[in-house]
């Protein structure tokens, strides 16, 4: 575990010191200002809009950050040549993959939770409520979703260059967010080959809708059943493990191209 946390810490320090993550905090500040000044149709006390926009911001920016951070971790080690001294130490390629995922996932979760905290703060400031138990559930599920996205990004980056991996990760995760929840309704009217294809898509793509608790927060519903939350978290952990396994398979015999091989 020490190696994993050390590798993760390198990811955190790089993100923080290269100041890329500050772009996100500038966006957060802009969002906060917008939320504070929001007064839809003069209904200043309707905090549902505030929560809706704040949480949408958390999902979109967490998604972008998870993809962009994860896809470049392993290729970057190779490009700048640091993979050689790293793997000459008692660090296995599996540990490198896991450490990079852990670093990406935790820093993205940290940034995303800043959005949650900001949205919560503004909601309270405007007289709204934000049930702590539901927030915890929503944050846990959101973290699980980000873990899946980061693992997918790492897996793709073992086979593609970072740009191609990012584009593929955006397409797969975007399609999962937008298409998968609509498939059951489409299946009612689709028959034959198109129905079969839809079913394949439905079963193959990750079900990110299972991790999305925004409506529960926005409409002040009570916490979800513990069993359902545990099931969704288990599903997220399994998907993450599958993507990390694929990443390791892609990386364990990879030939590194930087430096004078011949």
């Amino acid at each position: 575990m020490t190696a994993l946390w050390t590798l993760a810490k390198i990811v955190w320090l790089e993100m923080l010191r290269k100041k890329e993550i500050y772009v996100l905090f500038i966006l957060l500040a802009a969002l906060l200002l917008a939320l504070i000044s929001l007064d839809v149709y003069g209904l200043g006390q309707v905090t549902g809009y505030v929560k809706e926009i704040g949480l949408l911001g958390a999902w979109v920016l967490g998604w972008i950050l998870a993809v962009n951070t994860s896809v470049r971790q392993l290729p970057q080690e190779e490009r700048r040549g640091t993979v050689f001294p790293l793997l000459a130490k008692p660090v296995s390629r599996l540990e490198l993959v896991l450490g990079k995922w852990l670093g990406s996932w935790t820093i993205v979760c940290g940034a995303t939770f800043c959005f949650y905290a900001a949205t919560w703060g503004v909601t309270l400031l405007r007289g709204g409520t934000f049930a702590p138990a539901v927030v915890v559930q929503a944050a846990l599920l959101h973290a699980a979703a980000l873990g899946v996205v980061a693992a997918l990004g790492i897996a793709l980056s073992t086979r593609m260059n970072p740009d191609a991996a990012a584009a593929t990760a955006y397409v797969v995760t975007g399609a999962s967010f937008l298409l998968v929840p609509r498939v059951p309704a489409l299946l009612v009217t689709s028959k034959g080959l198109s129905g079969a294809l839809l079913l394949v898509v439905y079963n193959l793509l990750p079900h990110f809708e299972l991790f999305d608790e925004r409506r529960r927060l926005v409409h002040d519903w009570g916490p979800a059943h513990g069993g359902a939350i545990s099931g969704a978290l288990l599903y997220g952990a399994l998907l993450t493990a599958v993507f990390l396994l694929l990443a390791w398979i892609g990386y364990r015999k990879k030939k590194f191209s930087r430096g004078d091989i011949l």
């Binding site: 020490t2 050390t6 040549g81 050689f84 000459a88 008692p90 430096g259 091989i261 011949l262």
Partner: protein
């Protein structure tokens, strides 16, 4: 001083071949290379550019799978973590994490070797002092000169006090002072009874520091032995090396 495993060489390479697939036909980077490095010696690994030195080192470090043959480090297969616990590696280019400070780099490297607490802090301070970077320890490596980066990478390769130190053309691009640092490092390791495997094409450096050498030309082992025995009394290592490389090139053209 190190207590060496009685009969185990520090490095043992037997029948090593590496072939890279290529569009214009396969490239044979190493061809049936065999040699051993005895513990406690400074071993020079020579060859012109493109001879296959870095390929051999990449196999030794487990970055590349050989097409044929075997390689062991300190009696262990190269894939074993336990071998890398006792290994130090300094690459040709001082590639490192520029966003870290020198102290952070050494501390994190130490953690990868499961060092921690006061012992690690003490070791990091000592290494920073040894490579003359105590004053710059808390500055980011991005602000270091090339020589300073080479020195921090050198310190990084010594964090675990390795029994075997592999240096891959470490003097490339260094000024005379930097070269002197590398020579001092090698002398210190030798004095401590450790093994140094020194890859280079800078023959004057090798002649100064190495007990034994192996010369690689076009992926083949062209010569191996004690420096003094190979060169004889009337020849320099440079002359010997040029003759060998030329003969090998002629042989290839004739064949």
């Amino acid at each position: 001083m190190v207590i060496h495993d009685a009969v185990k060489p520090a490095i043992d390479i037997q029948g090593l071949s590496v072939t890279f697939p290529s569009r214009g036909g396969a490239v044979r980077a190493l061809r049936d290379v065999s040699f051993s490095v005895e513990p406690g010696t400074v071993f020079g690994f020579l060859g012109p550019n493109g001879a296959g030195k870095t390929t051999a080192i990449h196999v030794l470090l487990g970055f590349l799978q050989p097409t044929a043959g075997t390689a062991t480090l300190l009696g262990q297969p190269v894939s074993e973590k336990i071998a890398r616990e006792r290994l130090g590696y300094l690459a040709e280019n001082p590639d490192t994490y520029l966003f870290l400070t020198g102290r952070e780099l050494l501390t994190m490297t130490g953690r990868l070797f499961r060092l921690r607490g006061a012992e690690l802090a003490k070791r990091v301070d000592r290494l920073l002092e040894e490579v003359g970077l105590s004053a710059a320890a808390d500055r980011r490596i991005a602000s270091y000169s090339r020589g300073m980066r080479q020195r921090i990478c050198m310190a990084q390769s010594l964090v675990n006090d390795p029994d075997l130190l592999i240096l891959d053309e470490p003097t490339g691009g260094l000024d005379p002072l930097g070269r002197l640092e590398i020579r001092r490092l090698i002398a210190d390791r030798r004095a401590a009874g450790k093994t140094v495997f020194f890859s280079s094409h800078e023959l004057s450096e090798v002649e100064l520091v190495c007990d034994q050498v192996a010369i690689l030309v076009r992926g083949r082992l062209a010569a191996q032995g004690k420096t003094s025995e190979l060169v004889g009394s009337n020849e320099s290592l440079e002359r010997y090396f040029i003759n060998l490389a030329t003969a090998e090139t002629d042989r290839k053209e004739d064949g």
